[in-house]
Symmetry: C2
Subunit: 362 residues, 2 copies
């Protein structure tokens, strides 16, 4: 029996999710470059590649290094690399595999160009565009001018643009994923055309995300989507309506360790087990609690401390000390990042799998 708390991945559901996305991108005629932030595990990246993906997306050079060491040879680091040491590592990697790196500023481009030149190499880059999230990404109205300047820099080859917007309209969270995705796609296609009109050969027009990516991909001219979460799905995706709770491949198994009152039970997993980045009651999803409890769907995982999860119960709930519960977490990506390993379950089979690219920060 597995010790709790632990993260369990249902292989059948995962494979169905991988196939669903593969079918969807084929039907839309775009390429798929999944973000590995959700699983951080080379063997799952390979399953995505086997299904249809042309390559993977990562956020960190260290993640790219782990994935390349396990045989993955087409990687996009969708993040601005600023430190010379990181750019040197990227250059080294790009001599071994097909690598593209993100850029979103003059200073970032200057650094990439300088280090690549010093090492006698050319780096392929994509320009990140802010389509409304106000995170990284050059503001939309400054993007053509920046692309023109990057295009003239030596040792860089600007071949595409990319963005991540997520479920956002007019800067606010939305449940209208179709409109959000379509807008994201249209903004990017229009921008690529403006750049091409300036003589910049933009080939790749790449968009996010699990909730919105397939809507964006319906826009003619979008070439690539980079969803991550779809591989497992989670409670957030189900609340968005892009999957059902039954499609969620990842659950936390936990044990009831205390039943001090008829009103609550305590499980052996808290904020070290469940991520707290998607908070209950926040827009637009208004999730109740930190996860969906399969054995008590109307009970609420209300409070987490580091090692305790407090489940608010109705008196009729029969959970008792020693019972196991399975809980779909609000956000599987950040939850998986807390776990050194997970268990693949496939019928009666259970296999312990290390999360090889977990906690890669540097």
């Amino acid at each position: 029996m597995r010790e709790t708390p632990c993260l369990v991945i249902d292989v059948t559901k995962m494979n169905a999710n991988i196939k669903m996305m593969a079918d969807a991108v084929r039907q839309r005629g775009v390429t798929l470059r999944p973000h590995i932030k959700t699983h951080k595990t080379p063997s799952i990246a390979k399953a995505q590649l086997d299904a249809v993906a042309v390559g993977i997306t990562v956020a960190k050079v260290s993640e790219a290094e782990v994935m390349a060491a396990h045989g993955i040879d087409n990687i996009f680091i969708a993040y601005p690399l600023i430190a010379a040491s990181k750019i040197e590592r990227a250059v080294k990697l790009s001599r071994q595999i097909q690598l593209v790196v993100g850029v979103d500023s003059d200073e970032g481009a200057r650094r990439l160009s300088e280090v690549a030149g010093r090492l006698g190499h050319e780096l392929q880059v994509r320009l990140e565009i802010d389509t409304g999230l106000q995170r990284t990404g050059i503001p939309y109205d400054q993007a053509v001018a920046l692309a023109s300047r990057i295009h003239t820099l030596p040792h860089l080859k600007l071949t595409g643009i990319f963005t991540f917007r997520g479920a956002l309209l007019d800067g606010k969270p939305t449940m209208d994923l179709e409109r959000a995705g379509r807008e994201e796609g249209e903004l990017m296609v229009r921008l690529a055309e403006s750049m091409r009109a300036e003589g910049i050969p933009i080939a790749d027009v790449s968009v996010g995300s699990s909730p919105t990516g397939l809507y964006a991909a319906q826009v003619q001219g979008v070439t690539e989507v980079r969803p991550g979460t779809y591989v497992f799905n989670d409670r957030m995706q189900a609340a968005f309506g892009v999957c059902s709770l039954e499609d969620c491949a990842g659950v936390i198994e936990a044990t009831v360790v205390s039943r001090p009152s008829e009103h609550y039970a305590v499980i052996d997993g808290g904020s070290k087990t469940f991520a707290t980045d998607v908070q209950p009651g926040t827009n637009p999803l208004q999730l109740k609690g930190f996860g969906h409890i399969l054995e008590a769907p109307d009970a609420v995982l209300e409070r987490l401390s580091e090692e305790h999860g407090v489940i608010r119960l109705e008196p009729h709930h029969m959970l008792k000390v020693g019972d196991r519960v399975r809980i779909i977490p609000n956000h599987i990506c950040s939850t998986l990042n807390l776990h050194n390993h997970f268990y693949f379950i496939d019928g009666e089979q259970s296999e312990k799998v290390p999360v090889l690219a977990r906690g890669m920060l540097e």
Copy 2:
């Protein structure tokens, strides 16, 4: 130069915090059994033991195993052990070191007794008391009766009671730490006396926490405190007034990777780097943002996604792409749990230290 984002621990500040607590418990005449959740690192536990601590506190059998493997021989697992496999591991450990385990229910006690008996061993236990937090712990008014029943069980030796309440009064978050701590201590001492009147030889009366522990320890009859966070301190402790920001030994070093607008900067650390369990704007602390930025104290680390931290700036802030910032996190314990290693800095010296008991869940 260290790659960012990373967690850096100032050795001088850490040692001063260790000494402050050692002096304080000596002055109060109580023993110190620090919770290692804050550092998860055997070498730091040893520094605490060298200063004055009689042993350490952990939450997981796996943490106890890591600490014991590194020579620590007096450990309290302050958590109810329920699964037979975990109790077996605890029994095994208690043949090698001085081990005490928590218990808070009849069912938990029955399981401990059964497994210890089967393995021909006696386990030393402490009963956890709920003094208001409503987490684990037997409700206060049922504690004497449960203690009497545990006292009669074979293979268990009940030697103490323990609680964790934190900054709470009448079930609500409070800034009145002195009253909260004193109440916690008084409740526990009164309860120990009631148990002794029933013939149960309660020796250890053990209380939390970094904010309230030293107040509780002033109550005559409290024998032990189990603070954790004091070893590093953090922004939450400073907001409680139990330390200053200058006493915070742990900071995140991050790099500005994007400055798309005069109103915000983006750093290379998000919710994989900073814990999100202590949310901005929550009672009683009302912290602004996810950390205190030493280089821009009035700027707000307002939004985190997994790899991005968005800092809201006034236009006068001069942060530019490539700048390094140092940020005191809201909650150092859960933040450290995200990091595979940290850096000890001591003057010009920098040493990379693995977090050996990080992510111990099972």
